[in-house]
Symmetry: C2
Subunit: 484 residues, 2 copies
């Protein structure tokens, strides 16, 4: 049965009109009633610009209330939001714009100039430009079908172009409900949102806010002192961060402990080293490590603080409606991690090949390797072949290789991750230059033009040749040895 | 999309093996792991008796852990549980047994003798008889489809025979989730279960327990002193009761206030009078009044304590995924209450007529009358035509009239409810006797044989004739005047 329910924001504004929906670090406050009114008004202005039901519309914005208003407005119009990573280059952005066939791109005021300078193949409108429009009388969505698409977020794979992950309302709903069944739910919760909302990790907080009726505390940038200050003085009860941020937050704490009311540090971006976990225990920071993908609409496997030290390195157990199995485990029990559940995307945007490769009988093949211990705890042994997680962002060596192969100075290239104190990992490129007198700067300049900054190799090492198999396959493990 | 998830009890036992699932007033304790093991074992024993997947199986039991085990066992076998009201007479019980085409009736040990003496048209097995059997190796359900039926509960209507309300797993799931979104969710919750689990009000606690991973505190009978004692000494955080029980609980309290940890008194069975609400406020009892039907799998509209005095007499607002509208309101805004949402049954068991009458475009016509104020709060003006709610049980005048019309001493009959300090309401029968010398006792004897005790008129008033319209329709409002 297709499940239908009232439009989430309309319903939440009706149930909790005076409750604070959004509070920004700069002091702006919006109740659910205000958020609803602004979103409906913005929807009518979008309609007068020409946005129509059923269209895909891009959003290019940092964390700010108007981004959330734009998302709900598009939902009211029956559009799907394509959430764009602000760090993308012109080439990357143009690909996603074309692939998603978006009708408009909505940019935050601060990003508008940058986007228009990039000369992208779609009409770009700033939030302010839309706000000046007259409202057009259109009928807004009153009921949501959980099977309808809500967002598209692009994710890179080990091969080929980035794929558009389509999230239905149901995916986001089930993600929110699954998380609540694990973390509990209180009307007094206030969720710190410093992860970018163009990723599912940040976006999912926006969903939880209206589904649970709780406040989100929105920060545009991760500033370690300001985040700690907010946690101490703003009644934050939950925060979502990645491991590299948690390390900085504890370093910044000195001898202080987090307030008693802070009940959950939800963590993405890989397992936490034991010393950091111990520090968190001392500082009253309950750490919930998790495993998730864009395809699972945020966490699908979570480790509670009470199991953290006992199950060091584990990502935990799948959330209540989720399932997990290991495909073709080897003698050590390690195999590909498959996941299933109503929070898992039904597929990639018009990409039959990727869908056929990744989905079977409702199970998604994650590409990650792992095993499950006798008590049912998941250990992720290796993220998707050679995935580099740098400051919480996924970086695919194959994508960097593919792009830099297009540079005239590069004859051959292999990329791997290198451990880094600040970012967790950084990408390092081994390059066979096309001529002897190539300068690293020339290649970096090319990289900066075509790759988002976090994907640009932080180190370039010139080599005579790359370790390849007889069938010419790159042996990344050999590159790792060459690092040390 | 049909939503699939792991079997709830299996998943809960995997996530929270050591957590207490059931605690009885007599001191018995079962963890989720133990509950799972006992339920699976009982399922295999049921299989060896001959219970097969796809069958409807009756349960006739008071609140006790073995009843819950039997329910989960039937779920593991892929059977549907027909939950039988223990107060039914032979006639009523036999009707539900035949109508549901059940293969077996499972009776608690204490009820077994009573049931077998009733000579019902199905094989009756006591819990103990089944426990002596060998386990049979059968494959148990590992995944639940939310569209599959889980329970059948009979409800009487204004006309005709009782109807079997079919609840899917999804109905119970959404009911539990909707309630959590309203009441919040904490792993420390312990939910007092004194309402009978053969009604959805009690049964829904059993569902919330495994879905949330919280304890239920099971009491077989409502004893006012014992319930208060449990709330004071057993860390109860939530209790479900009906209005008549709440009145007794507060009367019994004298000057005490409930402990701080007690966070919710969830109330069915009609609105609460102001003096009782005020007493509850003084005694630290947060009262959540609610409106629901068997068809809505428990509450669908709920009033929070903060609105209780401001919105006296209101049942509140529909839960997050639920919707509500008033059909053909009159000039005062009063009309039939229609409800919609994923917790609403898809229909009555093989009863096309009732389904056609009650459902339209996903909306259920409740038969109850009400209006919605300008802030969206529901006021129930009149429960389904002339419904009498006596001690939390629904009593339909039409059913009593229909049964007693079969008594030779009754020439004509009209039944209405009368306010009662103890029960809220009691049924009163106005009877035109067939001859002058009929004794009330003779009619009562007939009534006791054919009607559950709570349906037997508490008063009989002999009259010369009944107030009827020209078209011979009974004017119940005229009977009400004759009461005073």
């Amino acid at each position: 049965m297709n499940t239908v329910m009232p439009h989430w924001l309309t319903k939440r504004a009706y149930l909790s009109p005076e409750q604070v929906a959004i509070e920004t670090h700069e002091g702006e406050v919006l109740t659910f009633l205000q958020l609803q009114e602004k979103s409906k008004s913005f929807a009518r202005k979008l309609a007068s610009v020409g946005v129509r039901s059923g269209e895909n519309v891009g959003i290019f914005s940092g964390n700010e209330p108007q981004m959330i208003i734009a998302i709900h407005a598009l939902s009211y119009l029956g559009c799907t939001c394509v959430l764009l990573n602000m760090r993308l280059t012109e080439t990357e952005l143009s690909y996603q714009i074309k692939d998603s066939n978006m009708s408009y791109l909505l940019a935050s005021d601060s990003e508008y100039k940058k986007v228009t300078e990039m000369n992208v193949p779609v009409e770009v409108l700033s939030f302010s430009m839309i706000k000046t429009k007259q409202e057009k009388e259109v009928s807004l969505v009153t009921e949501i079908s959980l099977d309808d698409p809500f967002t598209i977020v692009y994710t890179s794979g080990t091969t080929g172009n980035p794929k558009g992950v389509v999230h239905t309302y149901g995916n986001h709903w089930w993600s929110a409900i699954s998380s609540a069944l694990n973390l509990g739910l209180s009307q007094n919760d206030k969720w710190l949102t410093v992860l970018p909302m163009f990723h599912v990790g940040g976006f999912s907080i926006c969903m939880r806010s209206i589904i649970y009726g709780i406040s989100m505390y929105v920060m545009e940038k991760f500033d370690v002192a300001e985040v700690n200050e907010a946690i101490f003085s703003k009644n934050i009860t939950i925060a979502s961060v990645v491991t590299v941020m948690l390390q900085q937050l504890t370093d910044n704490l000195q001898d202080q402990a987090y307030p008693e009311t802070f009940r959950c540090m939800l963590l993405g971006g890989g397992p936490v080293p034991k010393p950091l976990l111990e520090t968190c225990a001392e500082r009253n920071i309950p750490v919930f490590q998790s495993y998730g993908l864009t395809e699972t609409s945020s966490q699908i496997v979570t480790l509670s603080p009470r199991d953290a030290l006992k199950k060091l390195g584990s990502a935990g157990k799948p959330l209540f409606p989720g399932q997990l199995k290991i495909h073709q485990p080897d003698e050590d029990g390690v195999g590909e991690i498959l996941v299933k559940g109503p929070m898992v995307t039904k597929g990639y945007l018009h990409n039959e090949q990727a869908n056929t490769e990744s989905f079977q009988n409702g199970w998604l093949a994650t590409g990650d390797l792992g095993y499950v211990d006798e008590e049912g705890f998941l250990y992720v042994v290796e993220r998707r072949t050679d995935l580099i997680i740098s400051g919480g962002e996924n970086v695919y060596p194959s994508e960097i290789e593919s792009v830099l192969s297009g540079c005239v100075h590069v004859k051959d290239i292999g990329v791997i991750g290198k451990k880094d104190d600040k970012w967790g990992e950084i990408p390092v490129a081994f390059i066979v230059p096309s001529t002897k007198n190539v300068l690293k700067e020339e290649i970096l300049k090319y990289a900066e033009k075509h790759l988002a900054r976090y994907k640009v190799p932080k180190e370039i090492k010139f080599v005579q040749e790359l370790p390849r198999t007889a069938s010419n396959k790159l042996m990344r493990r050999e590159l790792v040895k060459m690092l040390s």
